[in-house]
Structure formats: structure tokens, C-alpha cells
């Protein structure tokens, strides 16, 4: 359980929007890139290197007036499979969501195979997700498998 002091620091309330919690601290910037948060003009608050029993160090993102469709938010499952979303309306959590790795990944990740055409010509990558628990991606083009530990976000 969080101490009272931490709690105050982490939950500076937003009126309407989305809170993404339980992001491993080391992938915060990947999550920012995947969701394209650098192009959003609404207020965003980031917290990182916060203590977490489950993740060691975690990060949290609070986005005012911003909501995601499942298809978009599920993309972060590649790097933050335990991420949790709180949808806030009028200072109240109206919905909680977990992310799920989609069946197909388009763009986002790089193929692990240096001899793959996608690493040599300007091509949007495409993968079939063949395992979701320990994420494994099969490249649509070269058919090689990229494992979780080798996933590089473009």
C-alpha cells in the first residue's frame, strides 16, 4: 500500500481524461512514442521512477481531455503489458481497463533480422503476434520471429 504522502504526489486529480498506470519506468519514453503523446496539445503529467511492488520502478501518465480507442492503447502492451487505464469523468474513475496485445502489429516495432527487407527499404513493418504472454512477433515479410527481449520500438 502506498503511504499517504506518495498518494498525494501521484494522484493530482484530473477532471476528465485518462490515467495510464503501471508502466515499467524504463519504457516510459517508448510508451510516449507509441501513443504519439509528443503531438498532443492537452495538458499531460508524467511521473516516473515511482516505487512499485510489482514493477520495481514504475511510471504514470495523466492526460487531460484525452481518451483512446482500444486499438490504439493496446499497442503499448508490447512494452507495458501490465499497464492499467483509468478513465476519468468529472474527477471520478468511471472505467478501468487493462491492455491486451493485439493479434497484429503494424509499424511500432522493428524486425530483429538485419537482412529483412523492412530494415533495408522504407517499409512499414507488420507482424503477426504468435504468442501474447511472452510476446513473440512473426515478421510478415521475412517470417523471422522477434522475441519480447529483442523488441525495438521504431
Amino acid at each position: 500500500m502506498l503511504h499517504k504522502k506518495d498518494k498525494k504526489m501521484e494522484v493530482s486529480a484530473i477532471e476528465n481524461g485518462t490515467v495510464i498506470d503501471h508502466i515499467p519506468a524504463k519504457v516510459l519514453f517508448k510508451v510516449i512514442a507509441i501513443l504519439g503523446l509528443d503531438h498532443i496539445d492537452k495538458p499531460i503529467t508524467f511521473g516516473t521512477n515511482l516505487d512499485s511492488k510489482k514493477l520495481g520502478k514504475k511510471a504514470i501518465i495523466k492526460l487531460s481531455e484525452t481518451f483512446f480507442i482500444d486499438k490504439d492503447i493496446n499497442k503499448i502492451a508490447l512494452v507495458a503489458p501490465q499497464a492499467k487505464l483509468n478513465i476519468i469523468k468529472d474527477y471520478t474513475v468511471v472505467e478501468k481497463k487493462v491492455v491486451e496485445v493485439p493479434d497484429e502489429i503494424i509499424g511500432i516495432a522493428k524486425c530483429v533480422n538485419p537482412k529483412c527487407i523492412t530494415n533495408n527499404e522504407k517499409i512499414v513493418t507488420k507482424f503477426q503476434v504468435i504468442s501474447k504472454r511472452e510476446v513473440q512477433l512473426r515478421c510478415h515479410y521475412c517470417e523471422k520471429i522477434t522475441n519480447q527481449e529483442n523488441i525495438v520500438i521504431i
Binding site: 522504407k122 510478415h140 515479410y141
Partner: protein
Amino acid sequence: MKNKSLVSITDYSKNEYLKIISIADEFEKQSVQPIMQGKVVANLFFEPSTRTRLSFESAVNRLGGRVIGFSDTLSSSVTKGETLYDTIKIVSSYCDLIVMRHPLEGSARFASELTTVPLINAGDGANQHPTQTLLDLYSIYKTQGTLENLTVFIVGDLKYGRTVHSLLMALSQFKTTFHFISPDELKMPDEYKFYLHRLGLDYYERKELASGVEKADIIYMTRVQKERFSDPIEYEKTKNAYVLRNKMLAGTKDNLKVLHPLPRVSEIEQDVDLNPKAYYFEQARNGVYVRQAIISAILGLK
């Protein structure tokens, strides 16, 4: 199969394999059939592969079609930095079918999704070479009279050999029992073994070739290449263990045939060549009939 590109062996179904085999059989009986008149095939070889290219050219010629293209990138616009995307977009409008060989893996899938005409993958790096697999299937069918329930020994480099992996995927549709014979460093990757396991097919793994081949209907030999070994001493120690010698064929089944995708280095002794069980040279000749069959099926001519 009309207009259906052939990029990976798994793009075609079991029935489509059998259809290709039966058309190839027609071409073996009557190879010159000018049914392709007025059709143009673009042979795009982004890396040299003389045998494969000539085999396709011979197939098109016997069908009465025309071939355009290039046999390496030195003389083509590719050296001027043109992207594969642009090359394929342009060539698509010049021909009825593209045959492509390219050193990068996945290039064939990418190109097949850009073209307006069908494409045959003649090898994309270490990934796929499906016409080789279909000619292997044809050779097995011809020598055994069936593809069902055979016992197939695959010998040599089972880790990196793309022909071996494609052959496994194709044969697994026919309830094959596999025997994998390789050094530890070059064993069949787990993903293929899991695949066979899921299909409920038996497979056996061994390090020795010297004995135990009595059960084989087919022995499929491959090259064991020095550069695949992390330790050159290990290569020197193991290379002779995967050489097939004529005396090893004593006591094997009458219907046994020895196959090899060629070129061989030293993995089949020359004394095997005279044994009627050696089939690798006929296997290479089958390549033309099988490519005639694939081309005419894709163009909807058969």
C-alpha cells in the same frame, strides 16, 4: 491458383501441390508446349544464381513465352540506387509474370504485394525458395508413386538450410515420418519440431549417419558449410560424419532414392552416383518441368 503469387511454400495448399505435380508430369511427357505465346516473364535476379535463372528461362522458352530481365544488379538500374519498390512498380507494367531472386529476406512478399501481376519467389535470402521445394516434392512423388506416409531422412545442416525447412512444411501435409541427422550445432530448430508435434507426426533425431538408414524411403542430403560452425575445429571433426558413401546404401530399401538440392561439395561420394538409388541429377532436371507447371498454373493456362 490463377494469379496467385508463390512466395512461401505455405502459400499453396496440399491440393495445389498435387495439382502442380500432375501438371509437371504432363510436361515431363511433352515438354515443348507453346501455350504461352505473347506472354512475357520478367526474370529479376538481384543476385546471381545461374542454375535457377536458366531453369526458369528454359521453362518459359519451352512454353513459347518471352523472357526479359537481368541476371545481376551490376548492369541494372538497381546500382543507381533505385528502390525495390520503384523497380517492381515499373516492371509490373512490362510483363505478365515476375520471377524474382533477391538477397534480402521478405523482399518477395513485399514485391508480391506491390505488383499487379503474379510473382514467383526464386529465393529471398535465407528465407524461402518454394520452387525448389515443389521440385523436391515432384521428385519424391515420381520415385515413390505417392507422397503419403513416407519415411524421410534429412541429413546435414538442418538449422540454417531453408530448403530443408520448406520441405518439412510441405511434406508434413502427407503424414511423413522424419529422421533428422545432423551435428549438435546444426540441429532442426525447435519451432519446426513443435510444429510436427502439434500435427501428431513422429520424428527422430540422431547424430550418426553411418548406420540406421534401412528404414528410409528418401535420404535428403544437404551441405554442411564451414562458416556455420563457431569453432573451425568442430567443423573438421564433424564434416566427414555427414558424407554419404555407396557402401552405406547396402541393405537399404529397394525404393530408396537419394536427393540433394545441388550443388554438392563433398557430402555425397562420387561412388554413389553410379548407384541406381542416386537421384540428384534427375531431380535437377525435374526443375524445368515443375517450373513449367507453376508458370502455366499461375497464368491460368493449365
